[in-house]
Symmetry: C2
Subunit: 289 residues, 2 copies
């Protein structure tokens, strides 16, 4: 079966745990809206790809980790769209959670999803208690402070932003966690895989900066020009579009070089090239798929 289908099924099972007759229906609907339909599911796909590359699979543990990471990502989008941050009306081509359900429910849906990510780990790893501890730590580090996406977003409230720390925390951390978690779910050493996620996360961030300037709202499913309006650090503003595209290519090559020796190394290389070719809409990309 296609890993993409596994991911959707695993997310559906996780989200179902927050529903049921006892859940306030508006909250349950908002959580579902935040997770389905998804975007590229890049982070859970990376997590599963690493688990497969490690070659000694516990598919259920890897799917559990992948789902937890995607739920954290979706929660961060719900909170990012709040009026006190991006005040975004649309997300993935649909009304954002705050636009559809109001900011109060958007705050609570994000909160419930952060909790759900850790509950998902506890449920899915009940027979793998050693892996649970490592995965709670990996996901927690990428989600919270000082190194995770919460800290990354908080840099925007500082008078002076350390651009490297900002991007590493806001985007890189969850990609790094996805690659580490794929290895940890298989009982493999996870640290050697961190760089792969970090490079891919940075590449994705540069691609996002390019799209924010040169893409269309239709390609993105969300408003464009937000970074400039909010005065955020941007690779494009620092170096212009051609150099930003060259930087993106270099980061993808660094990601490929960083893959540790493992049974599925060649396949992983092909996969990274294929995935990276989708970072930019076709008309912006210089690279053939």
């Amino acid at each position: 079966m296609d890993p993409a289908v596994w991911i959707e099924e695993s997310l559906a099972a996780a989200v179902a745990e927050t529903g049921g007759p006892d859940c306030p229906p508006i909250l349950a609907a908002a959580i579902r809206h935040a997770v389905f339909p998804g975007g590229g599911r890049l982070r859970p796909r990376l997590c599963l790809a690493v688990a497969m590359a490690c070659g000694k699979g516990d598919a259920e543990a890897a799917l559990t980790a992948a789902s937890a990471i995607e739920i954290i990502h979706c929660a961060s989008l719900v909170h990012d769209d709040l009026p006190c941050f991006d005040n975004a009306e649309t997300r993935r081509g649909l009304p954002s959670v705050q636009a559809a359900y109001g900011p109060a429910i958007a705050v609570l849906a994000g909160d419930a999803m952060i909790v759900l990510a850790f509950e998902t780990l506890a449920r899915g790893l009940v027979k793998r208690p050693q892996a649970l501890g490592r995965l709670v730590s990996i996901v927690g580090r990428a989600a919270g402070a000082p190194y995770g996406i919460t800290a990354g977003q908080a840099f925007e409230s500082e008078p002076v932003i350390d651009t490297a720390l900002y991007h590493r925390a806001k985007t890189g951390a969850l990609f790094a966690a996805a690659s580490e978690a794929g290895a940890a779910a298989c009982g493999a050493p996870s640290t050697p895989w961190r760089n792969l996620g970090s490079f891919l996360g940075e590449a994705y961030q540069v691609a996002d900066d390019i799209r924010d300037v040169a893409g269309s709202a239709e390609d993105l499913g969300k408003p464009i020009g937000i970074d400039a309006r909010l005065g955020r650090p941007s690779a494009v503003r620092d170096m212009g579009i051609p150099d930003a595209i060259r930087k993106l290519d270099m980061l993808v090559e660094s990601a490929i070089d960083s893959v540790p020796l493992c049974p599925g190394r060649e396949r992983m290389h092909d996969l990274i090239r294929h995935e990276a070719s989708r970072f930019l809409p076709e008309k912006l990309s210089r690279r053939a798929a």
Copy 2:
């Protein structure tokens, strides 16, 4: 040493993990502001009291669980004070986090603290992986949806509120988790302890309703009359102050009766009576300490 000192030290150690030179300083300050100085620390004290009553202690595990639960509680207060909920300017006699640091940092501080609670469990229980799984589940159930405080708050966005489910989720869940977690941290069966926390949580909620109507802002350290202004379910509005005080007394007696057979049962009874005597300011309480 006084358990109250253990709790403050354990919370300080947990919060220190989100600080350090790499953390955005405003976020780090907001998290510290949210946790210190604390309120009554009722939930972590309950957690430790149950662990001591079970009589076969792993003090470090119990403190870990107690800290995680208090951090979740503090996070919920930070988000409750946001403009889209209570829009409260003060908390515990000081500016609320959103008043002091703005709503964006308040959202992020709450998020980081939810994550920190689970990271605290993973760090403190690294040698007790079996207990980690149980405690992530207990804390997650009490924090998220459908049974936790997030769901409890979300009931306020529903057109019709089921008052019993609302109070059980918004206040009861975290007290129930505190008592369960104290047992689970000791490796004792946790379910028999759930009722103790549920009754105490309900008693605390009734006391809170009484204080909201009959207390002063000075006693509470936060504005009064919020429940009525927001049209929230309230025991006092349903039954009047004298019957609400009678209900409070009955709930405390039910809590006492619910304590399972254990080495420290008598001491636990005394402790519940003493703690409950502090639920209301002296002039409102009919009970001698």
